[in-house]
């Protein structure tokens, strides 16, 4: 029987894609190269439903999720002084998620 990856439940599919993305990009520095990986593009394609999962992931481990979050939400809560880092933008996005009621305060 042929099963489509996209038919998997949201959380399971996100975990699979996230693990694939992290495994294949830990050694990369250019955020464009990191974001062009197929699994990352797939996550963006999952749309707003995946935002809470990304934010929870950012709470656990800062990583290059900012491009995806901005692409999906059209927002960017990262201040100019927080750019160029992973931890400060991650905190800004988590705070944004709490203010929006997406994450528990």
């Amino acid at each position: 029987m042929v099963t489509m990856e996209s038919a998997k439940p949201l959380v399971e599919r996100f975990q699979f894609l996230k693990d694939d993305w992290k495994r294949n990009t830990r050694h990369l520095s250019n955020v464009a190269q990191i974001s062009l990986v197929f699994s990352y593009q797939n996550i963006i394609g999952m749309g707003p439903a995946v935002v809470p999962l990304i934010l929870k992931e950012l709470e656990k481990e800062p990583d290059h999720w900012f491009w995806a979050l901005e692409a999906i939400t059209g927002e960017n809560p990262v201040g100019e002084n927080e750019a160029g880092d992973l931890e400060a933008p991650a905190r800004a996005w988590v705070q944004w998620g709490k203010q929006k009621g997406i994450l528990a305060r």
């Binding site: 294949n24 830990r26 050694h27 520095s29 250019n30 160029g84 880092d85």
Partner: protein, 145 residues
């Protein structure tokens, strides 16, 4: 995935790991001698740039602003500090900096620094190939007082 899976030309003999992994900064920052930010075009970058400009010309211009000029090769030359910019046809991917013994130091994304004996030890991977060497006089980095 270990380093030899990520970099097929890397062997136990041609590299050593020289730091723990860190998400604080990336290869471009490390090549520039900085460890307080990750350097990304349009985000944290020494020259004005759009976030979308990831071609090799952008880091070439960025390092030119730090006193480097384009150079033909990466052979060790006393008094010169050299960097190697790696890339594919679309993107820059990595920057390595030459040490005074002729070896190269690289920060591998969010992973460790390594010292590699040949500049090509990390080529032929997701990093593509060395596209451009640049050099500056060591006095540029450590000006005499």
């Amino acid at each position: 995935m270990n380093l030899s899976e990520l970099f097929p030309s890397l062997t136990d003999e041609n590299h050593e790991i020289t730091s723990p992994a860190s998400i604080k900064y990336n290869c471009v920052a490390w090549a520039a001698g900085k460890t307080n930010h990750g350097w990304q075009p349009g985000v944290y970058w020494p020259i004005d740039s759009s976030r979308e400009d990831h071609g090799i010309g952008n880091p070439v211009a960025a390092f030119a602003s730090l006193g480097y000029e384009e150079w033909a090769d990466g052979t060790l030359e006393p008094g010169l500090e050299k960097i190697a910019l790696y890339g594919t046809s679309m993107l820059y991917t990595h920057v390595a900096r030459q040490l005074t013994d002729g070896k190269w130091t690289s920060k591998l994304g969010q992973l460790e620094h390594i010292v590699h004996s040949e500049v090509d030890a990390i080529a032929g991977s997701d990093y593509g190939e060395v596209i451009q060497f640049m050099k500056r006089h060591l006095e540029t980095r450590w000006p005499k007082r």
